[in-house]
Symmetry: C2
């Protein structure tokens, strides 16, 4: 994706901060792709921004978390630099063009020095598992259906082993060109499972995994959920997680959890934003 140049705001432009929710089902992720025919959240947003602010071409965007194909967001944060003259109701204008798949919940000029990705100090993702013999129609786009009964207690214990500052190489997709010997250190602040108290579901349990970290590497949450669900089946435990992280290799990691159960809940910033 073409990107705005970090914290440097070009003369004659003003940086805007957008709070964006989307249903990722119909998109090939957030990041725009070389082929403009591939539907992406960023591409849709940039196109709507160009129409709204009458720009000659879609502007580059920077987001806090580059969600993959099929991943949803309630609180993605995006920045974009627009000509200083623009002062319309950006949230309303964008939502009118993009809803219901994409909704811009808020849009306002960003505080000085704000960068949606670099200023972010905390990301919160949520993953839903529908644990029941049969799939559930109204959850099929937002929860992973796992038919085998899961035991939450070992899942919670294994999740505890993820908390802290660790090398997450074994649970990340290596960035293109990166050295396999290089650790990928991230700090996980919280990771917990619980049963969602939603009366809307019948015939099974909706399990919810909330994980907060200063930052995530690629496919990290889906890798975590993959191993934690194995723990729920009695095929892994906290020691497995510790061993896996220690190995520094993806070879021993279980299957990735599918993308559609994942949602970027919100992004935290230390500076007022």
């Amino acid at each position: 994706m073409a990107e705005a140049g970090g914290a440097a705001v070009l003369p004659g432009t003003r940086r805007w901060r957008l709070l964006v929710a989307y249903d990722g089902s119909g998109f090939r992720g957030f990041a725009t792709q070389a082929d403009p025919g591939v539907p992406t959240v960023g591409g849709a947003l940039a196109g709507a921004l160009a129409r709204t602010a009458r720009l000659p071409e879609p502007p580059p965007l920077v987001c806090a978390g580059r969600t993959d194909a099929g991943v949803h967001a309630m609180g993605q944060v995006v920045h974009v630099d627009l000509p200083e003259g623009y002062d319309g109701d950006l949230a309303r204008a964008l939502t009118r063009q993009l809803a219901p798949a994409v909704v811009v919940r808020e849009a306002a000029p960003a505080p000085p020095g704000f960068d949606a990705r670099r200023s972010a100090t905390r990301r919160h993702y949520r993953y839903h598992v529908w644990n029941a013999p049969a799939p559930y129609p109204l959850l099929s786009a937002t929860a992973w259906h796992v038919a085998a009964p899961l035991d939450l207690r070992p899942m919670a214990a294994a999740a505890d082993a993820l908390i802290g500052e660790r090398d997450f190489r074994a649970l990340c997709r290596r960035p293109p060109g990166a050295d396999a010997a290089h650790p990928i250190v991230r700090r996980v602040l919280d990771a917990r499972w619980r049963e969602a108290p939603d009366e809307d579901v019948r015939g099974g349990r909706l399990l919810r995994f909330d994980v907060v970290a200063t930052a995530f590497c690629h496919q990290m949450v889906r890798s975590m959920v993959g191993v934690l669900v194995q723990a729920g089946k009695g095929r892994a435990n906290a020691a497995t997680v510790v061993g896996l992280l220690g190995s520094g290799s993806r070879a021993g990691a279980p299957q990735l959890a599918p993308p559609h159960g994942l949602c970027l809940v919100d992004v935290g910033y230390d500076q007022p934003s």
Copy 2:
């Protein structure tokens, strides 16, 4: 829709009871239509039943609540008469063909005299309203977005006025050929609003209307929600509801709530089923 002949089970057949969940978004309602190209839940189910039980043609079905186009179900109950010889795992076979849009949660031979519609003594519907300035992507297929702030207290008071045995003509679509002077009496057992405690939603409130009646007439829940949302805006109250029901005429009823917020939660039977 072609219908099985009430409680009479033909010789050589056995009656099955199915518990069915569906996402109504892609269907033109439950009831099969004359044009077989129109996608209906009943049509999909009957087609899958014919394939599974090797029937020469899709069998007639009877359901407890004939949901309209776009309406969802967690616990629709259906009966169908199949040749006595069939004894496969019907729920699994049907779900394999129809998921994720339609899932057969349970399937078993019905108790003697069982009729999915006539034996039902209680239907429970739920309606969701997403009350927030902006729409919400992950709720756009299951909740009605109402942007104006709603006050739950008058909505609850007006809902109370619906409880009891009353003539609901003013809140129903009259059946074809029915006499407008004829009352349509139904008994509402419960009708209440509350805010869903779902942490999954941000930037607004998810309001949930639960209504239980011995039976409903056509479009009754959506008519109720239409007038109750007016109450939430301060444009109607319990007296309006009483007056509307007393008028016996749909002329004074507010706009119907859209179908996609509605879900058939479950159906009760007095006999063991």
